[in-house]
């Protein structure tokens, strides 16, 4: 418990003024604009949108500037802003089948229809610092080639035809929303996916990695990873039909997991699913692995006691804003709490000393 303490106003005001000055840094260096952050730090912007759970590149860029590049602080700002917006409704589920792909790869099928399209990836770069970027350099034009018009089909669709992979149950049920009702456990898969897609990238990555190292290993292949734009449509009551209200970039990962069959399911491949705002590949793959690990119960697998199988552990600790809020509150004044702790320790010491004195006398 912490109590209000007066007397800090001037110190707080001055601290904030200094914060603003430090944020700006050396005024001899040109100031960074929000548009520059949006365009040139776009993967940071994407992460803030995904974990802030609000798709708006300009706002995310502003939050990054305000937070001095502290992405969790920026996500905090976005979450706080989000609560001020009236909600107009929910979209139709986005059709990732119709995604216009910048990138689309499969680790399972070399000759997947639609091909392996690398897109603007860090893969195959040498991870050597490029000092040309430190100097002002010329911008090379990205080469172009005759574009394929057709939408690229999902790879899991092919496995589905042979019945070799578990199918997803079709449904149009309204999904639960953890931003409206507190999360209840056990959580449905829909709720787990919502929690994971806005979860902390580092936490979800760590959980996913633990499954690869053997804690509830589920032998994941990246069946397909795609990054691109999809149209968002919403039914508008005053019109009586659905219209496109915008376009967003998404990263989708479908894993194909080895599965020997269980008490309830035949031997077949199973699936993990990741879908995240923006170009957020590491997060989408991590999400798919953790999603798959959390499905042990519905697939009739054994609980091997691995952290990634523990829904309560994963879902209650994935949110970096909840985590940092609770963690950082302990630095706020706890003077009264601590005073009583102090009294308690003094009392215990007095009693212990009295005991010793008595024993010595006897």
């Amino acid at each position: 418990m912490y109590v209000a303490v007066k007397g800090g106003e001037r110190a707080i005001e001055n601290a904030h003024a200094w914060l603003a000055e430090e944020r700006r840094g050396d005024t001899g260096i040109a100031e960074l604009s929000v548009a520059q952050i949006r365009e040139q730090l776009s993967l940071a912007v994407n992460r803030v949108m995904a974990e802030g759970s609000l798709y708006d590149p300009d706002l995310a860029a502003l939050a990054i500037k305000q937070a001095r590049g502290d992405l969790i602080e920026a996500i905090f700002l976005i979450r706080a802003y989000r609560t001020t917006l009236p909600r107009f409704g929910a979209s139709e589920p986005v059709e990732t089948d119709e995604m216009v792909c910048d990138r689309r790869i499969s680790a399972t099928f070399k000759d997947a229809p639609g091909g392996q399209v690398l897109g603007p990836t860090f893969d195959y770069t040498h991870r050597l610092l490029d000092f040309k970027l430190a100097a002002e350099g010329d911008l090379p034009d990205a080469p172009e080639a005759a574009a394929l018009e057709a939408a690229v089909p999902h790879i899991t669709g092919f496995l589905n035809r042979e019945g070799l992979i578990q199918t997803e149950d079709e449904s149009d049920a309204t999904p639960p929303d953890l931003t409206r009702e507190p999360m209840e456990l056990p959580a449905s898969r829909a709720l787990r996916l919502q929690s994971l897609t806005r979860g902390d990238e580092g936490f979800v990555l760590g959980m996913a990695y633990s499954t690869q190292r053997g804690y509830a290993r589920n032998h994941a292949f990246v069946g397909e990873l795609r990054i691109g734009t999809v149209e968002v449509e919403m039914e508008v009551p005053e019109l009586g039909f659905a219209i496109g209200i915008g376009e967003i970039t998404l990263t989708e990962c479908e894993t194909v997991n080895q599965f020997k069959g269980s008490k309830t399911e035949p031997p077949q491949f199973t699936r993990g699913y990741g879908l995240v705002f923006g170009q957020t590949e590491r997060k989408a793959i991590s999400m798919a692995l953790v999603d798959r690990a959390l499905r042990w119960k519905e697939l009739g697998e054994d609980d091997v006691g691995a952290p990634a199988q523990d829904e309560e552990f994963v879902l209650m600790h994935a949110d970096n804003i909840q985590a940092t809020g609770f963690l950082e509150h302990i630095k706020l004044p706890h003077y009264v709490d601590f005073q009583s702790e102090l009294e308690l320790v003094r009392k215990l010491r007095r009693e212990a000393e009295g005991q010793e004195a008595r024993e010595a006398a006897e």
Binding site: Y55, D172, I245
Partner: protein
């Protein structure tokens, strides 16, 4: 195309078009239709949904910002604007264009605004597709040393 699908197409174009492009084309057309606001421009959020495994049950992915506006022209035509982002001018211009597209000015508005915006969106998309196509892997099999 039915009447609805035509309207869906132009509303979707107006939602996605850059606000500055729409504003410039709107100014260029020089139309200043009398209108009354039915719903003043308002910034809000829409919860975007995905589907489990791309084909299964819906789940909530996160929200996006949307600005909406509704108005009625002097002639009675009602226009709605639902646009991505937080630009109130964008939503107002979209609602004005939506309303005018239902009047005898539709031809001019299509030619001066909706057409060029659609073309720009298609061109931008084609450019990205072409860049993506250039990164497509062309596998070839190395000769095996078995014979």
């Amino acid at each position: 195309m039915t009447e609805n699908s035509e309207r869906q197409a132009w509303m979707s174009t107006l939602a996605k078009a850059p606000a500055a492009d729409l504003a410039r084309l709107w100014e260029g057309l020089g139309l200043k239709p009398e209108h009354e606001m039915l719903r003043a421009p308002e910034v809000g959020a829409v919860m975007v949904r995905g589907r489990t495994g791309a084909t299964g049950a819906p789940f909530n992915l996160g929200e996006m910002t949307v600005t909406r506006c509704s108005l009625r022209l002097g002639c009675g035509a009602v226009g709605h604007g639902y646009v991505q982002g937080r630009n109130k001018g964008h939503a107002t211009n979209a609602a004005l264009v939506d309303a005018l597209m239902q009047t005898e000015d539709a031809g001019r508005v299509r030619e001066g605004i909706v057409g060029p915006l659609t073309e720009a969106l298609v061109a931008a998309k084609a450019k990205r597709r072409a860049k993506a196509a250039a990164t497509k892997v062309e596998f070839f099999t190395m000769q095996r040393g078995e014979d």
